[in-house]
Symmetry: C2
Amino acid sequence: MQTKQCTEDICEHLCEHLGEHPQIICIAKKESISDHDAQQVAEIFKLLGDPTRVKILQALTKRELCVCDIAVIVEMGQSAVSHQLRLLRNARLVRYRREGKMAWYSLDDEHVRSLLSQGIDHIKHR
Amino acid sequence: MQTKQCTEDICEHLCEHLGEHPQIICIAKKESISDHDAQQVAEIFKLLGDPTRVKILQALTKRELCVCDIAVIVEMGQSAVSHQLRLLRNARLVRYRREGKMAWYSLDDEHVRSLLSQGIDHIKHR
DNA sequence: ACAACACATGAATATATATTCATGTGTTGG
DNA sequence: CCAACACATGAATATATATTCATGTGTTGT
């Protein structure tokens, strides 16, 4: 186990433990996404990672819908849908406006529309 | 509650229950994604919905890496990384080749690279 | 042949998450 | 004012998932 030339602080201890290619690790570590960013990115994808929410969001790509309609379309209880919509609202993926008794939901984010359609494309082509 | 003109089978029972806008629901239901597709799409996003896997995949967008390196880069145990890599392998998001003792992993899917960078863009701009 | 190594994997555990049920809040029509 | 309605939400439960620990498999160098 020969120690390689690693001048960076972040790598000093690595060089003691790794014989093969510590310099690659140093570079990769510097290029790597931060914990915070990884968490944030994962948060978004996690929201897209549930079939019920996919159905809800996909339906909302077409038109604004009220909770009751969404429940019928995705064939789920009103409560379940409401809970899911709250998650989507909190993450600002959907927006809503109240009109009397009804709450009308729509997509709040063009990125989401694009991510979603890319996801759908992905499963189609393979 | 008046019944509206809904000739489609799928809507018949809906029209009995809904007074306001059953026709919208009929259309939305026909445009909606299938259970199977929603499941598949969710599956992909679910894999992108974990910070550890985000870090792994992001590191792999730069270069091929072995398990040991990945573990150091994402600051996780070798076992945890191995388990996650198995999930990514099964979903064909990463590919691997063995070279002696080592297993080298790389991205197997340009869609994933694009989804990932879109996810990262998304959190940057807001 | 043997020890060290790189990686994979089964089992166990802890934690997160989705759905349901019951109930709460605010609105509308009679 | 009251009942019906549309939706939100807390609590409970069931299920999924991530990580760790221990161990297994195959490879390399001596």
